[in-house]
């Protein structure tokens, strides 16, 4: 494999109205080529109506190992959930 090849992440929208969903990655020289490769590899069975390719190096990701501290400020707020509020049965479908 050539050293110049870059890694791209591939996202596919299976149907209009739905979000693009990550399906995998591939190597390509540039974005246009990545799009064609993605078509050839990831949509052989009509899996989608639209493809996004993004250079993997462009993605900034949080680390799962950091979950505890990263999400800590959000974990003690049960009142953000609808089920926190006990309402009479007659109106409970609110």
């Amino acid at each position: 494999m050539s050293e110049a090849m870059k890694l791209f992440e591939v996202f596919i929208r299976s149907k209009r109205g739905l979000d693009h969903k990550h399906v995998g990655s591939l190597h390509a020289e540039d974005a246009a080529q990545a799009l064609e490769y993605a078509r050839d590899v990831y949509t052989r069975r009509s899996e989608g109506v639209s493809i996004w390719v993004v250079e993997s190096s462009m993605i900034t990701a949080s680390q799962e190992d950091d979950c505890e501290s990263f999400y800590d400020p959000l974990d003690d707020k049960p009142y953000r959930h609808a089920t926190h509020y006990q309402l009479p049965e007659a109106v409970n479908n609110m």
């Binding site: 109205g17 639209s50 009142y79 953000r80 309402l87 609110m94």
Partner: protein
């Protein structure tokens, strides 16, 4: 060529397919969406004011934490909606300018003051309740990013209405004074909540075209009826009275009949002469200007990071 495009576009909508940002779309559809989505976004953000007003005065720490979380959510909803509008090729700055210059509207309800704690209950129960009726319908709007934003917002919004109703329920079951306070809030917010659905279908400037494009899926009057129907039982459950002498179950229609809205009041508030219009816009402008240094600092920091990276 454009006629052919227009046909493909309308066929897609008629077939219940979503329109996505990179699709061809008529200029009027784009403009109509920018108007509606930005109005929706501005409503979320301006709506933080009447409630934010009570964060420091909530009766318990628990209620204060809840209210803070709710107001934070509204800010987040504004963000989702501004982002959806931006996929149509307009910048955040242009959208905010339009609000500040009065070219863009927001929901008229937020021009009413929240003068007692019970108003926070009434806002959650009725104002968020009315917004949810509208937003549930908009989950099926034809523009993909708007529809997906609505799905997310509806999911988060369910706690807002329940916490409001819970406040009303607690007051209604409390002392005579507390019950009176709850009834007073209902009296003041009921009619403005009904106005949130906009003019009658026969008077609505944008309705017919929006329905054809499926930007709107149900008419103003249909949504208003749905809201009235669901609210009556909720009021009865906690012993409060909806302030409408004409409100009566209509067996034949299978719906409640209700009285006429004071459309002069609605027109006045829309025209900028509601109780708090000037205060709301002045506050938003001031907050935006006071926050300018934060935006400038972020740009300046980014430049320094860039320079350091280049020097290394």
């Amino acid at each position: 060529m454009s006629e052919q495009h227009e046909q493909i576009f309308q066929n897609r909508i008629d077939a219940e397919e979503k329109i996505e940002p990179k699709d061809w779309m008529p200029e009027a559809y784009r403009r109509n969406l920018i108007r509606q989505i930005s109005q929706h976004a501005h409503s979320e953000v301006i709506g933080m004011q009447p409630e934010g007003n009570w964060i420091t005065r909530a009766p318990t720490l628990h209620r204060k934490a809840i209210l803070l979380a709710k107001v934070q959510d509204e800010g987040g909803h504004g963000l989702y909606l501004y982002s959806a509008a931006e996929t149509l090729g307009i910048s955040r700055e242009e959208l905010i300018d339009a609000l500040h210059e009065g070219r863009a509207k927001y929901a008229s309800i937020f021009n009413y003051p929240a003068i007692t704690w019970a108003d926070i209950g009434a806002i959650g129960w009725l104002v968020d309740g009315a917004a949810i009726v509208n937003q549930v319908s908009l989950q099926r709007t034809s523009y993909g990013p708007y529809a997906r934003g609505m799905v997310r917002i509806c999911k988060e919004e369910s706690f807002h209405q329940r916490q409001g109703y819970h406040i009303m329920m607690t007051l209604a079951r409390g002392s005579a004074d507390q019950k009176h306070m709850a009834q007073d809030a209902l009296n003041r917010f009921w009619w403005p909540a009904l106005m949130m659905f906009g003019p009658h279908d026969s008077e609505s400037a944008h309705s017919a075209q929006s329905m054809k494009w499926k930007v709107k899926r149900q008419t103003n009057d249909e949504l208003r009826q749905k809201f009235v129907d669901q609210s009556v039982a909720q009021a009865e459950e906690i012993g409060l009275t909806i302030p409408d002498p004409d409100l009566i179950w209509n067996e034949k229609r299978g719906h409640y009949d209700f009285g006429e809205i004071d459309w002069d009041e609605f027109a006045q508030v829309i025209a900028g002469n509601g109780p708090c219009n000037r205060q709301r816009l002045t506050h938003h402008r001031r907050a935006h200007e006071d926050g300018a240094w934060v935006r400038e600092a972020m740009v300046s920091y980014q430049k320094k990071v860039q320079q350091r990276r280049e020097a290394a």
